[in-house]
């Protein structure tokens, strides 16, 4: 269930941490990245790999916002609606994305391309309003630039390109 790549990465981290459990969040982060969500099967595999009971894995997986517990679209569009973004028109952005994609926040488009989510502050308040697509930030947006972004992402997906993971080109982990 766990890919060799993930296992190698986590094994490489092991000497840096005094406990096995400390590797759980890095491991779930990698599972989330590889599969786009964290399934019960991957939680079981994570528990077996780190010698942790499933309950400990589940309680962590269900606590953190970035772990999606059901399948998501290929691009997770997360619009910040907290105060600074809201003051600068995040609600309009959310309405626009919702109309363009034909879904509400929390839903996935029928073609499986996009999931729309509303998120809280991502520390980008000086460049509000903003959103993230998968792992990349897009800042200083308005309705026009949002529509362009979504069109571009859709075209990139059609061309089998990976969207919103520009930082994955080199390993983030030590």
């Amino acid at each position: 269930m766990l890919s060799e790549q993930i296992k190698t990465m986590i094994n490489g981290l092991r000497p840096h941490f005094p406990t096995e459990q400390a590797l759980l969040i890095p491991l779930l982060n990698e599972i989330q990245n590889e599969h786009g969500w964290v399934s019960l099967e991957s939680m079981k595999a994570a528990g077996e790999f780190l010698n942790l009971p499933l309950s400990k894995v589940r309680e962590v997986a269900s606590f953190y916002t970035m772990y999606k517990l059901r399948p998501q679209g290929k691009v997770d569009v997360q619009i910040c609606t907290n105060i600074s973004c809201w003051l600068n028109g995040a609600d309009k952005l959310m309405a626009c994305a919702s109309k363009k994609l034909g879904i509400h926040a929390g839903q996935t488009t029928s073609d499986g391309k996009f999931t729309l989510n509303q998120v809280e502050c991502l520390a980008s308040c000086g460049t509000a309003p903003m959103l993230t697509m998968n792992e990349d930030y897009y800042e200083n947006l308005d309705e026009n630039s949002l529509i362009k972004l979504l069109d571009q992402a859709s075209a990139d997906l059609d061309a089998k390109k990976v969207v919103g993971k520009s930082t994955r080109k080199e390993g983030v982990w030590p």
């Binding site: 962590v60 606590f63 953190y64 609606t81 105060i83 929390g106 809280e120 520390a123 520009s166």
Partner: protein, 446 residues
């Protein structure tokens, strides 16, 4: 001189607008990079702590606790039950998530070595050989940049074994969270670092006694660490003089909301809120109505209260707090009830759920504000807000519940007429608003 403060100079951001400022080469060539470390390693650990104490550096994460004092709480030679020495850990809190705060992200992307150098100096001061940088999970790019900076520092011998020939060893490990505001609370962060739910711990014991992995630990904010090299390199006096009596140095203020030039400004604490708004290009789209001076948890101030200075004590005297330096500006087109509801929704979502007062209280408050906006509010609701808040603040394991009451109470106290207007007229619709907030669907956070 600049900003009416003859002693002021930027401590952290003198060059953040220059290309290549994030590289080690730039830091070494133009910013006296790692000279503070060189100096610190020749000093006794206790003397380094003394320098930081005298500089009056206070924690930049929100609570404003004196940094030197925090370091001095670390036990000198901790041993376990069998008499074996315990490791001590240094932790950098880079879980920047307080709405309105975005200063640490600037340090990560523009001057990461300043923070790394500060951490190595702090490691020497508290006798720790290992540091963790806890980064919020959403910062993929920032983590990449920090990783590169750490690798470069290792390559030049600023990290690792026998640093600069001093015999001091220090390792720095990057750790990414997974999206939880509460992990900015230091004991929640420690739990998260241990691979657990980010639930704050009951104190005492404080992290200096029982911290990460049960070992004595010291947690500081990114900006706090980034100020340390300057203090050691240029001396505590210069740093202390820039500030005021009980708080030294500069503050990085993130100005956002309705201003013409939002961004992070490194400023002396002697400025007033009005002056800072001017520096950020003035209010856009209307007249000034309200300001949240220190991140979402700080009680808001009315426009007529914005002559207040922005140091810790002046803001506390004004009934609010300096917090994390996120200054959110609202113009007179904003409905305060709606703005506060935006924040309460956030708290409702981010409460870790351990304490009933906070878990239920944040939910009730959000629901009550929504009801008022939707036209179902009553006069009694306004008294009930105070009642709920008095059962939250100071009654829980961590300060999250207190944070919720900041915006909730201050909005009702300072803008009561706006609530009454909504109650009398049947909500936003009654005020002629056709667009409702209803598309912010319940349960949209997945």
């Amino acid at each position: 001189m600049m900003y009416n403060n003859e002693h002021f100079e930027p401590v952290i951001t003198p060059n953040v607008d220059k290309p290549g400022c994030e590289t080690l080469d730039f830091y070494l060539k133009n910013e006296n990079g790692y000279k503070g470390l060189e100096k610190a390693l020749k000093m006794k650990a206790a003397d380094v702590i003394e320098e930081v104490k005298k500089s009056n550096l206070r924690g930049r994460g929100g609570a404003g606790f004196p940094t030197g004092m925090k370091w001095s709480f670390m036990p000198a030679n901790p041993v376990d039950a069998n008499g074996n020495p315990k490791p001590k850990y240094l932790v950098c809190n880079a879980d920047e998530g307080e709405p309105g705060t975005f200063k640490d992200r600037l340090i990560f992307t523009k001057t990461p070595h300043r923070m790394i150098e500060g951490m190595i100096i702090a490691g020497h001061a508290i006798g720790s050989a290992k540091g963790f940088v806890y980064i919020r999970g959403e910062w993929f790019k920032e983590a990449r940049l920090m990783k590169k900076a750490i690798d470069d520092a290792y390559a030049k011998g600023f990290l690792g074994k026998n640093i600069l020939g001093s015999g001091f060893n220090f390792d720095l490990v990057l750790y990414m969270g997974a999206g939880a505001y509460i992990c900015g609370e230091e004991t929640a962060l420690l739990n998260s670092l241990e691979g657990k739910r980010g639930e704050p711990r009951l104190k005492p014991p404080f992290p200096a006694q029982v911290g990460a992995f049960g070992m004595p630990s010291c947690v500081n904010n990114v900006e706090t660490f980034a100020a340390v090299p300057y203090i050691i390199d240029r001396g505590w006096e210069k740093y202390a003089k820039m500030g005021i009596e009980r708080a030294g140095g500069t503050r990085m203020i993130g100005v956002s909301g309705h201003v013409n030039k939002p961004g992070v400004y490194e400023l002396p604490m002697t400025l007033t809120i009005n002056e800072i708004i001017e520096i950020a290009g003035g209010v856009k789209g209307g007249k000034l109505k309200a300001v949240i001076p220190g991140g979402a948890s700080a009680p808001m101030l009315r426009a007529d209260e914005c002559g207040c200075k922005t140091d810790y004590d002046s803001l506390a005297k004004a009934g609010t707090m300096a917090g994390s330096g996120g200054l959110i500006v609202m113009n007179d087109t904003v409905n305060i009830v709606e703005a506060t509801y935006t924040l309460l929704k956030f708290y409702e979502h981010e409460s870790c759920g351990q304490c009933s007062q906070c878990r239920e209280g944040s939910h009730w408050l959000a629901r009550m504000f929504k009801r008022i906006l939707d036209g179902g509010g009553t006069q009694d609701d306004l008294d009930y807000v105070s009642h709920i808040c008095s059962n939250m603040a100071g009654q829980t394991i961590c300060a999250f519940a207190d944070a919720v009451t900041g915006p909730a109470l201050s909005s009702v106290r300072k803008f009561r007429s706006e609530f009454e207007e909504l109650i009398v007229n049947g909500g936003l619709k009654g005020l002629g608003r056709t667009e409702s907030i209803s598309h912010r669907t319940e349960g949209a956070h997945v």
